[in-house]
């Protein structure tokens, strides 16, 4: 009985921890969840809007919620925040001239690594080959 009361108490806390947002439908809630996961909290910069408890994150969640209610698209909502806080607010940086290096870096690193591996394999193969030729030489 005590346990039940405690559980009930905990449940109430968890309900009050989130602002009471009432969504029109599941689809809208899914969009809200997705957006707040992809948007960065500017105060605690390693958290997204969904996870952060900062007052600014609370206000921005409210802002996102209201924009969803007024029928704005995901891009419009992201644009609203980018205009105010810059690209930094996006966890997924846009592909543009100043981020080409960022996006291409993994590919460049992969190609670089592959070249090193190929070079070292060739070197070894040629070393082995020269070893074999010296072994085959009956004069040695």
């Amino acid at each position: 009985m005590k346990l039940k009361a405690l559980l009930l108490l905990l449940l109430t806390f968890s309900v009050f921890a989130q602002e009471p947002l009432v969504f029109e439908n599941q689809q809208q809630q899914d969009r809200f969840d997705q957006l707040t996961k992809e948007l960065r909290c500017l105060v605690c910069q390693n958290q997204n809007l969904a996870d952060s408890d900062a007052p600014l994150a609370h206000d921005l969640r409210q802002e996102v919620f209201e924009m969803l209610q007024t029928g704005q698209s995901n891009d419009q909502i992201k644009q609203f925040l980018v205009q105010r806080y810059g690209d930094f607010v996006l966890y997924r940086p846009p592909v543009q001239t100043n981020t080409y290096l960022l996006w291409l870096a993994p590919l460049l690193l992969f190609i670089g690594g592959a070249l090193v591996v190929i070079a070292s394999i060739r070197k070894r193969a040629s070393l082995l080959a020269s070893d074999e030729t010296t072994n085959e030489n009956p004069d040695n």
Binding site: L42, V43, P55, L56, D59, Q83, R84, Y85, D87, F88
Partner: protein, 178 residues
């Protein structure tokens, strides 16, 4: 280049990367504002202590001014307070206080305790205007030119150095241009 120098070069590069990272670690949380050289966001806010009277961005056109976002809960605003006071008293620029996400009573108490440095204080109770300005920390200060364009932003406390090197030269340039 043999197989021994390669790891050494890699190690040296890594050390350089770490040193650079440590040097800029205190600037990494600063976010460059996309609003620099763009028109300041529109606002329509009541005056603190005189809620019937409202001012808009248009009310301030024609003269350069500073918008200083502050709140009674903001500890760094207390640190900054003497610097703002001195700047406002010098009358070199209009200093507009933007009291955001605050209670009127708390803000009034704060001003009574520390003194009111501002030429005028607008009240942004729900923080909507602060979101439009892209404020994510407190205090934040924006320098706005006579045409309503944001020309400089300081995130965090103003210092005498920043006023001397960043703000006053820009104000002087604006006045020379008029």
């Amino acid at each position: 280049m043999n197989s021994r120098t390669l790891p050494l070069i890699g190690f040296v590069l890594l050390v350089i990367l770490l040193i650079v990272g440590l040097k800029i670690s205190d600037q990494k949380t600063l976010i460059p504002s996309p609003l620099i050289n763009k028109p300041a966001p529109a606002f329509d806010l009541p005056i603190l202590g005189n809620p019937e009277q409202r001012l808009t961005k248009e009310s301030f056109l024609g003269k350069p001014y500073l918008v200083n976002f502050w709140a009674s809960w903001c500890v760094t605003c207390r640190v900054e307070h003497p610097v703002v006071t001195e700047l406002a008293r010098s009358k070199k620029i209009i200093v507009v206080g933007m009291n955001f996400r605050d209670e009127v009573a708390d803000a009034t108490d704060w001003l009574e305790q520390f003194g009111d440095p501002y030429d005028i204080i607008l009240r942004d109770g729900d923080g909507r205007t602060s979101i439009d300005f892209g404020v994510y920390a407190a205090p934040e200060t924006f320098l706005i030119d006579p045409n309503g364009i944001i020309v400089f932003k300081q995130t965090g406390a103003l210092t005498p150095e920043i006023i001397e090197t960043e703000i006053l030269p820009r104000v002087a340039a604006m006045e020379a241009g008029n």
